[in-house]
Symmetry: C2
Subunit: 344 residues, 2 copies
DNA sequence: GTGAAAGCGCTAACAT
DNA sequence: ATGTTAGCGCTTTCAC
């Protein structure tokens, strides 16, 4: 049950076709220096023997792995899947492989990052709202890194790719205003950087629209529960809002539930806007209006950056890329009902 | 920008502390044969130099990688995350590492499986409703495999771990019956094996409860849209059901939307039961009654099986493990309203 | 066009 | 307790 010995080696192939192992190696790389006939023989022998290249051996001698490590902070976040797909796609296009590891507690995170390093990945793409534990060390050693979804400052050699939360928040607010809403409250995501940016974007957009006096924030977090909590607080306040801009989609789902729990309806009584553009937001039963992040572009730019650094194009000393989000209007937002209809 | 040379080797450590590289190797493995003093010196030198073990080199010589490959068919499926967590946890507990790859189109699937083999993983856990392209070859070569979530027949040396769909379907039907429902329709998932099992389980449970005459199936699939379609068909049929058992959670969400689109309410007019127990089903805005699969147990048993085979315990020639699901009653199911109240 | 030989970083006998 | 040596599977000069 030895994991390796059962595999045939180039030596086995060589023996079978009666040539040297160097020739076999050349043939396997499709080198033009090998005669067509020999190449064919070698290839078919390899096939018959069920030969598989040994990644360890070739990495050892080639001094490179052409592999990019992908670290996932949270597999449960639905945007992770799209990001991984984009990263994988772009890496393949550029001739790199990816291996992905998934975080857990902080010890696991550290261990997984170390594993990536031991595999000698040539670059690391971290996906998540923060750097993995041990991520800093990883980056400050030889391997370049990119973090998607967070903005780490003060980590040299680390590029952060994110969407422009200020723009996204503005998009949400302006959408609501265009629908006639003025009493627009915000359910926050706590004190994380992303949450604070969205909050500031909301406040700024409100002020810019002359609605500075209507600014109203309620504590929540990035979860269903947090959204429910924040929305509940907003709607039971002295001056309940007619619209809610919630820090992310999951929390927005919680907010929708809170509206219903209070005997109100979405969107007739309260409009709700989320953030992220997760696939879930498109579910018919939810159909959430939300700000969508350009995930595909974020993923491919991460790989593009890594590859250009690996190719020695040091002409990209960027520390941050902020992409522009967009808004998808669905069924949780509707024009404000006028006072006459409301009977209020 | 060479991925490897920048890393210090045991030779560098040896030079720095003035000992031989074998001693360094031993010390790094925490061998008792090394003097405490030397060990300390070596460890601190390694630390200072930023030494990282070279996985390729040690795999090459050790003839084993202690690594299990995890193949993910669909990252978007929310149950994938829980399964991965369970697999990873169990592997770590047993001293194995995991590396995960993610499928895409069939060429990608094949490539990713090959990659796993080239890494010389000692076993493969595939997660998904079917085998990855190239999976069959992977298994029939030296590496043992387990597939979670599907039941592949006719692939030797492949264990499939799944939940017992017949039991799950029965749980759903009996729950509905206990609530007083008799007109219980099923929204199917198409012709896949899992879909057929759930359908048969539904039919059998209905018959066993003397409701054979009420059996009513409507075509859907495993998506939001498919569920909406099937539920619509069921509810607009000549004899509309008062309860729906839907093939999976996603489709159940679509079914919930269909109920609403028809001007009816969940659960007052129509009860809905899903399948899988995805986290989403717990969202307050959805709060779906569903059959939950024992994901943690499925993941850990997969690894347990692999490890026992790797340790030579050939005493487990199992081809299939079926675990028992359970039902979580939430807010999409309610007692049948009696005729008087219905006014029908 | 083909083969021989060196060596990647490491482990594991086998010496000392 | 520590050093020497061989060799894992492969790529890559360098000869022939």
């Amino acid at each position: 049950m030895d994991g390796t010995t059962a595999y045939p080696t180039i030596r086995d192939i060589a023996a079978r076709v009666g040539m040297s192992k160097s020739l076999v190696s050349l043939a396997l790389q499709d080198s033009p220096r090998v005669a067509q006939a020999s190449k064919a023989a070698i290839l078919s022998a390899a096939e018959e023997l069920g030969y598989r290249r040994n990644a360890a051996a070739r990495a050892l001698v080639a001094h490179r792995t052409r592999t990019i490590g992908v670290f996932l902070l949270d597999l449960h976040n639905p945007i992770t899947a799209d990001l991984v797909a984009a990263v994988q796609e772009e890496a393949r296009r550029r001739g790199y492989q990816t291996i992905v590891v998934v975080g857990g507690d902080s010890a696991t995170e550290r261990a997984e990052i170390v594993k990536l390093l031991e595999f000698r990945v040539e670059g690391i793409v971290a996906v998540g709202h923060r750097l993995p534990a041990g991520g800093r060390e990883a980056i400050t050693s030889t391997c370049p890194g990119v973090i998607i979804g967070s903005e780490q400052t003060g980590v040299p050699d680390l590029l952060s790719i994110s969407n422009d939360d200020a723009v996204g928040a503005r998009l949400a607010v302006e959408h609501l205003i265009s629908l006639g809403h003025t009493r627009i409250a915000h359910v926050t995501g706590g004190r994380s950087l992303v949450a604070r940016r969205r909050r500031r974007g909301y406040e700024q957009a409100m002020r810019d629209s002359g609605l500075g006096a209507e600014v109203s924030c309620h504590d929540g977090d990035f979860t269903d529960e947090g959204g429910h909590h924040g929305a509940w607080a907003a709607l039971t306040s002295g001056r309940p809002p007619t619209a809610l801009f919630v820090v992310n989609d999951f929390a927005a789902f919680g907010a929708m539930a809170a509206v219903v729990d209070l005997g109100l309806r979405v969107p007739e009584d309260v409009s709700v806007v989320g953030y992220d553009g997760t696939r879930l937001s498109g579910l018919r039963a939810l159909s959430l209006t939300t700000v969508v992040q350009p995930l595909e572009s974020m993923g491919s730019q991460a790989v593009a950056h890594l590859c250009s650094r690996l190719d020695g194009d040091d002409a990209s000393p960027k520390k941050r890329i902020r992409l522009t989000p967009s808004l998808v209007a669905r069924e949780t937002t509707a024009p404000l009902r006028t006072a006459e209809h409301e009977g209020a």
